[in-house]
Symmetry: C2
Subunit: 161 residues, 2 copies
């Protein structure tokens, strides 16, 4: 009933970091709207709104505000939620299960104890795309710098918890 | 970090039927590989292989065989599983969470008691697409006839359980 599909490449961009805060704090900074607003956009961008229904199929709605005050809304859903361990999100659905205008990314986050560094977190973000072109576009939009700076901000927030 | 997304149309095709079998039987015919093989392809097509890991994030792999013996593999995952009530599948991922070559459909199945007809099931399949073009293609591929005939076959299987 559906066209043939074969296993494709994951078209992945990724970032791994040691964060100087325990897993539960990093996970909380990702899942508590008031905390997420403090780090999710690279300054001087900001987050003007964040609604997070953190459960499989739950929606998230995050509005990023540019330095000149323009709002950029983002809608997505959570695909998998394992407290303090793992979080999977996508913008392929604007809510469960409404296909979005353009499936662009799937974000797989893992939060692990840093083996030789008690109280710190091995944080990995794998960002997958449906096409090689989208991966390239995302890289060109400044994925590495943007996620790098946001991860610095995430660490500041998590370290205070 | 991601492009703007607004709530789009669901680009839906759908089918509703009263099936002369209880909900649990219809649900089982969808989730037991040996049963699914008996109805999932409109005869004289058949299903040569079916592996169903029925849980959110679990994979399904279904190979449809044409009358002249050619195999057409389909890979997807389950997004939501509520026993005897609801099943959501998509081919946007070939496994959790590997983006597929082409996100084409999201299938939302509901199994309800038929209000005035004890022992029968109100069966609804909502099939959503990411674009108007894909919905049109699917309709042109014979969605209504194909799903209609498969639903007849599904009923035969479920009624025997």
């Amino acid at each position: 009933m559906t066209p043939t599909a074969t296993t494709p490449a994951a078209h992945e961009l990724s970032l791994t970091r040691t964060i100087a805060a325990p897993r539960h704090a990093v996970f909380r900074a990702w899942t508590d709207p008031a905390l997420l607003k403090q780090w999710f956009a690279p300054r001087p961008w900001s987050v003007s709104e964040a609604e997070l229904d953190v459960r499989p199929g739950g929606s998230n709605f995050i509005v990023m505000r540019s330095p000149d005050g323009e709002d950029y809304p983002n809608r997505g859903i959570y695909l998998e939620v394992v407290e303090n361990e793992r979080l999977v999100l996508t913008d392929a659905y604007s809510e469960a299960w409404v296909p979005s205008e353009k499936p662009f990314i799937t974000i797989i986050l893992t939060f692990e104890d840093e083996a030789n560094d008690p109280g710190k977190t091995r944080y990995t973000a794998r960002v997958r795309h449906w096409t090689a072109e989208d991966r390239e576009t995302h890289e060109g939009m400044g994925f590495h710098e943007g996620w790098g700076r946001c991860t610095d901000q995430l660490e500041e927030v998590a370290a205070r918890l």
